[in-house]
């Protein structure tokens, strides 16, 4: 089998976007991804996942020093635009790294340290497609999807600043 896939696959890729406050279970999501592919064919050879979770040092150290320990993140989003933006990101990824199915889950609301925030799951024929699409989606999600994090410290709360490393990460896909 060639690593270059037909145009057909672009249109048949199964994309699921979920924005929810509830936690998610990786195995359940994996199963759902597999089921959505099984309805098409049996050609998945590679599944890539990325899970992002709340770190105790989500903010930079100087902010932590004055504000105490990070307790949680409060995540807000723009309902409607979020789902649209995530779908477009997945479709863009699929054009570049054709895959069979993908699931993107992003949680909103109050998430304590150690809680999962985001999950990207991609199923493809080959590992390069699955891994690159997964990377592409998380990089683009970080700079395009309308989510905002507020860091809740022991003594205060403040909006998380954009990271310049995220801006750099997105640039490498434009080369």
């Amino acid at each position: 089998m060639s690593d270059h896939n037909s145009a057909l696959q672009h249109t048949t890729a199964d994309i699921h976007i979920l924005v929810q406050s509830e936690p998610f279970d990786l195995s359940d999501e994996m199963l759902q991804l597999q089921n959505s592919v099984d309805q098409q064919d049996q050609e998945v050879g590679a599944i890539s996942s990325f899970t992002g979770q709340v770190r105790s040092a989500e903010e930079d150290q100087s902010a932590m020093d004055k504000s105490g320990q990070l307790l949680a993140l409060s995540i807000e989003h723009y309902p409607g635009m979020t789902e649209k933006s995530l779908l477009e990101t997945c479709q863009l990824a699929n054009k570049r790294w054709p895959f069979k199915a993908c699931r993107v889950l992003h949680r909103v609301g109050y998430l304590t340290v150690g809680q999962p925030i985001v999950l990207v799951l991609v199923a493809a024929s080959h590992r390069e497609q699955a891994m690159k699409a997964c990377e592409f989606i998380i990089d683009h999600l970080k700079t395009a999807a309308p989510f905002w994090k507020k860091a809740i410290f022991e003594n205060t709360a403040e909006w998380v600043e954009t990271k310049s490393s995220d801006q750099l990460a997105i640039k490498r896909w434009q080369e």
């Binding site: 723009y78 992003h106 309308p146 989510f147 905002w148 909006w159 600043e161 954009t162």
Partner: protein
């Protein structure tokens, strides 16, 4: 025609505005509606809001404020259409 005249009379031309994250907190509101004005850019519309509501609203024109129109990121020179949904938000920090 009577029907058309009634239609025109009751059609209220509006723009819906949404505010998110620190902008929402600063303004103390998450949404509002304003009257639609023809041939107005987002920049002009926003300057009008600041003039009307005061300096606190300058946050809408801060360099890093993102503008979206109908759930798509847009430039500030976009000409607004009747019924558009305009949103103002800080750079996104999801993931």
């Amino acid at each position: 025609m009577v029907k058309a005249a009634i239609g025109a009379a009751v059609s209220i031309k509006m723009i819906k505005l949404l505010f998110f994250a620190r902008i929402k907190e600063r303004l103390g509101k998450s949404e509002m509606t304003i009257d639609f004005v023809a041939n107005q850019s987002l920049q002009t519309l926003t300057q009008g809001l600041i003039e009307k509501h005061g300096d606190e609203w300058q946050i809408l024109l801060e360099p890093d404020t993102v503008f979206s129109c109908n759930q798509r990121v847009v430039d500030r020179d976009l000409i607004v259409a009747d019924g558009d949904e305009v949103a103002y938000f800080p750079p996104v920090t999801g993931g």
